[in-house]
C-alpha cells in the first residue's frame, strides 16, 4: 500500500504529497477456499469492504480544483464590500489572501504545489491570459497606434533590460553589498525578468477613469507585446549566460533571432487565424462545438510556436486578432457569447491563480535577502522606466498624430507594474545560476512593491493630475455615420493631395478585405457596411431593452450586450411573478421578440408594402419613448409605469390616446397611423405591466 502511494507521489507534476493520514484501505482479492492442501492454512477470509477511500487516485485533479475554488472564493469575497475594489486593485487583494494562506501553510509545514514549474506556467496558465488580452484588444485604436505600441514594447523593454542590467552590474562591483559573484550576463538576465510589465491593475483603473484612448491602448499593447519581447530576451540571455565568452557574432545572431522569433510568431498566428476563420465557415450544422474551434486553433498556434521556439505569445495574439472579425460573423449569436465568456473566464482564472500563488509562494520559499541589491533594483527599475518613457516619447512624439503630453507620460511610466510574467520567469531560472534565490527574492519584492504601492496610488494620482479623458464609445448611429464620413473625407483629401498616410493603407486593406478575404472566409457574404451592422445591432439591443425592463431574467434570449455592460442591470426593478405567469410571459415575450425581429428585417428589405410604413413608424416611436425612458436619470421604478402606460392599453383603443408626447414627423413622409388591426394582450396576465402589442 505504501509503495503504491509513493509511486504515485513520484508521478505528480504538481508537487509534493504531504503525508496525509488518509486511512486508505485497498481491496484485497478474496481468497478462495481450496479443497487441496493449503499453503497458508490459517488465511482469513476478507469481507467485502463497504466503504473505501482512494485519495492518491484523484489527488491531482482534486487539488487543482480546490486551489481554483479557493482563489475564486477569495474573488467573491472582495466584491462583498464594493468599495474595496474601487480603491485597491484586485491583484493586491489576491496577493494578500495568498500571503495569508501561505502563512497558514508555512505554519503547518506544508509545501504549496509547485505550480510555477516552467511547463505548467507556460503551457497551461499563460495562454488563457494572453488569449484574453488579444481577443478583446480594441482593434481600430490598436492599429492606429501600432507604431507607438511596438516602439514602447520592443525598444522600451530593451532599454529597460540593458539599463537596469548595466547599473546593477555596476553596483555589484561595490564590495560592501557582497554580490560580486554575479557577472554581467546574469545581471542582464535578471534585468530582463524584471522589465516585463504587467499593468493589469492599472488597466482596470484606466478603464474606470476613462483615460484617453491613446494612453489606454499604448499601455495595453505594451503589456502584451513586451511579454513576447521579454520571453525572447530571456531565452537569449539564458543561452548567453551559460556561455563563458560572448563574441560579436553572438550579438548579431541574437538580433537576427529576435526578428525571426517575432515575425515568425506573427506569421504562424495569422495562418492559424485564417484557418480558424475558414473552418467556421462550415460549422453551420455543428453549432454546439463551434466555440471549440476557436480555442483549439488558438492553443494550437501557441503550441506550434513553442515547438519551433518562436514567440508563442505573438502567435496567439495575432491568431486571436485575425480570426475574431471573421469568426464572429460566421458563428451563431450564442456561440459568440460563449466564446467571449469562456475566454474571459479562463483568463480570469489564470490571472487569479497566478497572483494567489504569488502570495503563497512569497511566504513559503526560502529567501535570500540582500538589502543593497534589492533596494537598488527597485530604484533602478523605477528610474530607468521613467527615463525610458521620457526619452522614447520625445523620439516618437513627432511621428504621432496626437502627441503624448507630460501627464500621459506620467501615466505611462507610473503604470509600469510588474506581475505574472516576471514571477514565472524568475522561477524558471536554471539552477546553475548561483544567486538564484536572491533573484527570486528580488523579483518578488519588486512585484509586491509595484503592485501594492503603485497599484493603489495610481488611481488618486491619475485623477489628481487630470489626465486627458475620452468619452466612451458612443454607439449611436450618428457617431458611426460621421466617423465613416470623416474617414472617407480624409482618405479623399489625401488622394487629392497625392499623399499617403495610414488612412490610405486602411482603405486599401478594407477593399482587399471586401473583395477577397470576406468571400473566402465568411459563410454568406454580403459586404456589410459597419453602419448597417451597427444599426442592426442597435435595433436588436432596443428589442432587448424593451424586454429587459419588464422581466427580470430572460436567460434564454441571446445577449449581445458585452460583459462589461452587464453592471447596469442592477438598476432594473425585479418583479416576482407566479410560475404560470412566468411561463406565459416567456411565451409571449419570445413571440413578441420574434415579431420585433421580423420588423427589423423587414425594415431593410427592398419592397415596401402599404402597411409597412405603419410598423416602421411604430418601431420608430417605440425607439423614441424607450430611449427617453431608459435615460440614466429615469432609471428608478418609474421606468415600469412608463412602459406600462405605453404598452398595456385596453383592447380596442387606438394608440394615440395614450401616446407619449413627442410624435416626430420628418419632412412630410410619415403620417398618423391607425391601428385597427392591432389586438392587445392585457387580459390574460393581470400582474404583468407589459401588455404586448400584436399586429
Amino acid at each position: 500500500i505504501n509503495t503504491w502511494r509513493s509511486q504515485f507521489s513520484q508521478l505528480t507534476f504538481i508537487g509534493e504529497i504531504p503525508p496525509k493520514p488518509t486511512g486508505s484501505v485497498t481491496v484485497l482479492p478474496p481468497i478462495k477456499p481450496n479443497d487441496g492442501p493449503q499453503a497458508f492454512p490459517d488465511a482469513e477470509k476478507e469481507n467485502l469492504p463497504v466503504f473505501t477511500m482512494d485519495y492518491p487516485r484523484i489527488q491531482i485533479p482534486f487539488e487543482i480544483t480546490l486551489w481554483v475554488l479557493l482563489a475564486s472564493f477569495a474573488k467573491i469575497g472582495f466584491h462583498v464590500y464594493h468599495k474595496i475594489t474601487v480603491w485597491v486593485p484586485e491583484s493586491c487583494l489576491l496577493i494578500s489572501i495568498g500571503l495569508i494562506v501561505g502563512a497558514i501553510m508555512h505554519s503547518v509545514h506544508e509545501e504549496p504545489p509547485a505550480v510555477l514549474t516552467s511547463n505548467v506556467f507556460f503551457l497551461y496558465m499563460l495562454p488563457p491570459i494572453v488569449l484574453d488580452s488579444g481577443y478583446f484588444m480594441p482593434i481600430r485604436p490598436f492599429f492606429e497606434n501600432v507604431g507607438t505600441v511596438l516602439w514602447f514594447a520592443v525598444v522600451g523593454t530593451l532599454w529597460n533590460s540593458i539599463g537596469i542590467g548595466m547599473s546593477l552590474f555596476a553596483i555589484c562591483q561595490i564590495e560592501a553589498f557582497g554580490v560580486q559573484d554575479i557577472n554581467l550576463q546574469e545581471n542582464l538576465l535578471f534585468a530582463t525578468i524584471i522589465s516585463a510589465v504587467d499593468p493589469v491593475a492599472v488597466l482596470s483603473v484606466f478603464e474606470d477613469v476613462s483615460v484617453n484612448e491613446q494612453l489606454y491602448i499604448v499601455v495595453f499593447g505594451e503589456c502584451l507585446f513586451n511579454d513576447a519581447v521579454t520571453v525572447v530576451l530571456y531565452n537569449m540571455f539564458n543561452f548567453v549566460a551559460e556561455m563563458p565568452v560572448v563574441e560579436p557574432v553572438d550579438v548579431f545572431l541574437g538580433v537576427a533571432r529576435f526578428f525571426v522569433v517575432g515575425l515568425g510568431g506573427m506569421g504562424f498566428g495569422v495562418l492559424f487565424g485564417f484557418a480558424a476563420a475558414f473552418t467556421t465557415r462550415f460549422t453551420a450544422n455543428v453549432r454546439e462545438i463551434e466555440p471549440l474551434f476557436i480555442f483549439m486553433y488558438s492553443y494550437l498556434a501557441y503550441l506550434v510556436a513553442e515547438l519551433f521556439a518562436i514567440s508563442s505569445i505573438m502567435a496567439i495574439v495575432t491568431c486571436a486578432l485575425t480570426m475574431k472579425y471573421y469568426v464572429e460573423e460566421n458563428v451563431s449569436q450564442r456561440s459568440c457569447t460563449t466564446i467571449r465568456h469562456v475566454i474571459k473566464m479562463l483568463g480570469s482564472i489564470s490571472e487569479t491563480l497566478i497572483f494567489f500563488f504569488l502570495g503563497v509562494v512569497t511566504i513559503t520559499t526560502e529567501h535570500e535577502w540582500n538589502w543593497g541589491y534589492i533596494l537598488f533594483t527597485l530604484l533602478f527599475a523605477f528610474v530607468w522606466r521613467g527615463l525610458g518613457v521620457l526619452v522614447l516619447t520625445q523620439i516618437i512624439n513627432p511621428f504621432r498624430t496626437i502627441p503624448f503630453n507630460l501627464k500621459d507620460q506620467f501615466g505611462l511610466g507610473y503604470g509600469g507594474l510588474r506581475g505574472a510574467i516576471s514571477f514565472a520567469l524568475a522561477f524558471t531560472l536554471p539552477d546553475n545560476i548561483g544567486r538564484r534565490q536572491l533573484f527570486i527574492t528580488a523579483t518578488i519584492a519588486i512585484i509586491i512593491f509595484t503592485v501594492f504601492i503603485q497599484g493603489i496610488s495610481i488611481r488618486p494620482l491619475i485623477e489628481f493630475i487630470n489626465v486627458r479623458r475620452t468619452n466612451r464609445n458612443l454607439g449611436t448611429i450618428n457617431v458611426e455615420v460621421h466617423c465613416r464620413l470623416m474617414e472617407h473625407t480624409i482618405a479623399g483629401i489625401e488622394d487629392l493631395c497625392g499623399q499617403w498616410s495610414h488612412y490610405y493603407w486602411k482603405d486599401k486593406f478594407l477593399k482587399f478585405n471586401n473583395r477577397v478575404l470576406r468571400k473566402i472566409l465568411i459563410r454568406d457574404n454580403r459586404a456589410e457596411s459597419s453602419i448597417v451592422a451597427l444599426y442592426k445591432k442597435l435595433e436588436l439591443q432596443n428589442a432587448m431593452e424593451i424586454l429587459d425592463t419588464v422581466s427580470g431574467d430572460i436567460s434564454a434570449a441571446p445577449s449581445i450586450v458585452s460583459l462589461y455592460e452587464e453592471k447596469k442591470s442592477s438598476a432594473k426593478p425585479k418583479k416576482k411573478f407566479m410560475a404560470a405567469d412566468l411561463r406565459n410571459m416567456h411565451d409571449l415575450l419570445s413571440k413578441n421578440m420574434y415579431k420585433i425581429r421580423q420588423r427589423t428585417v423587414a425594415y431593410t428589405r427592398k419592397h415596401a408594402l402599404p402597411n409597412e410604413s405603419q410598423t416602421k413608424e411604430i418601431l420608430m416611436r417605440r425607439h423614441a419613448s424607450i430611449r427617453r425612458s431608459l435615460r440614466p436619470g429615469s432609471f428608478q421604478s418609474s421606468v415600469v409605469p412608463k412602459s406600462h402606460k405605453y404598452f398595456s392599453l385596453p383592447a380596442g383603443k387606438s394608440l394615440d390616446s395614450k401616446f407619449p408626447p413627442g410624435r416626430l414627423s420628418h419632412a412630410g413622409k410619415l403620417s398618423k397611423p391607425s391601428l385597427k388591426g392591432c389586438t392587445l394582450y392585457s387580459n390574460q396576465l393581470p400582474h404583468m405591466p407589459y401588455g404586448g402589442l400584436f399586429c
Binding site: T401, I402, V479, I493, H623, L664, H666
Partner: protein, 217 residues
C-alpha cells in the same frame, strides 16, 4: 530664390492664420495644385473629378464640392465658386491641420468647431443652415453606395433612425403636432459632442509623393 519670392505672399496669408506650417509643406501643396490644374492658376471641378484615386471614394462629390463651397472660406459668404485659386485651396486644407503640443484648449475648441462646421457644410447642400432628412439621407446613401448590396431602403432607414436620434437627444419634449425641421448646427454639435475629432480629421502635411504625382493624372 525666385521660388520663395513667388510664394512669400501665400506664405504670409498662411502664416497669419496657421503658423505651424512650414514653407516646404506649402511648396509641396503648390506643386500638387499646379499639377492638378494643368499649370493654370485655378482649379475647376473637372480637374478634381479626373483624379483616378478619388474615383472609388463614395463621397467624392461631397469632397470636391467642399473645395468650391464659399462657406468653407471662413468669410461668411454663401454659394460656390466655379474655380478656386491656391489661397482658397489652402484655406480648405487648413481645416485638417492637426493640433500640436502647443495648441491651447481654446484653440482646440476652435479647431474642433471648424471641423464640425466643415462636416455640417458637407451635409447642408442648400446652405439654409439646417440638415433636413433628405439631405441626411443623401449622404448616408452615398456612404453606403460602395459597400455592396445594401439597398436604398437600408440607407433610408438608417437616415431616419439617425434623425430620430438627433431629435430625441435635442428636443426631448415635442408637441404632437410639431415638426422636427432639420438639424441645426447646435444640434449637430450636441449629437457629436463626445466624438473625438482631433485624431480623425487631420492629415499630416508630409512630402507629396512625386511618383504618384505623375501617374496620378
Amino acid at each position: 530664390m525666385g521660388v520663395s519670392v513667388a510664394y512669400s505672399h501665400v506664405v504670409g496669408v498662411w502664416r497669419s492664420f496657421f503658423p505651424t506650417v512650414s514653407l516646404e509643406q506649402i511648396i509641396n501643396l503648390h506643386k500638387r495644385f499646379k499639377q492638378l490644374s494643368g499649370n493654370e492658376d485655378t482649379i475647376s471641378r473637372e480637374n478634381l473629378d479626373s483624379i483616378p484615386a478619388l474615383a472609388t471614394n463614395p463621397i467624392r462629390k461631397q469632397i470636391i464640392e467642399a473645395f468650391f463651397d464659399k462657406r468653407n472660406q471662413r468669410q461668411d459668404e454663401v454659394g460656390s465658386f466655379h474655380e478656386i485659386g491656391f489661397e482658397q485651396f489652402l484655406m480648405v486644407m487648413s481645416h485638417f491641420r492637426p493640433p500640436t503640443l502647443k495648441t491651447t484648449e481654446e484653440e482646440r475648441e476652435v479647431m474642433r468647431r471648424e471641423k464640425l462646421r466643415f462636416l455640417f457644410n458637407m451635409h447642408d447642400t442648400d446652405s439654409d443652415g439646417t440638415i433636413t432628412l433628405d439631405e441626411y439621407r443623401k449622404v448616408v446613401e452615398e456612404l453606403l453606395s460602395k459597400s455592396g448590396a445594401i439597398g436604398l431602403e437600408a440607407a433610408k432607414a438608417i437616415a431616419d433612425a439617425a434623425m430620430l436620434e438627433v431629435a430625441s437627444t435635442n428636443v426631448p419634449h415635442m408637441e404632437p403636432d410639431e415638426f422636427y425641421e432639420g438639424i441645426t448646427f447646435e444640434h449637430f454639435e450636441q449629437i457629436l459632442k463626445g466624438l473625438e475629432m482631433e485624431s480623425r480629421m487631420h492629415i499630416r502635411f508630409l512630402d507629396v509623393n512625386t511618383t504618384t504625382m505623375h501617374c496620378g493624372k
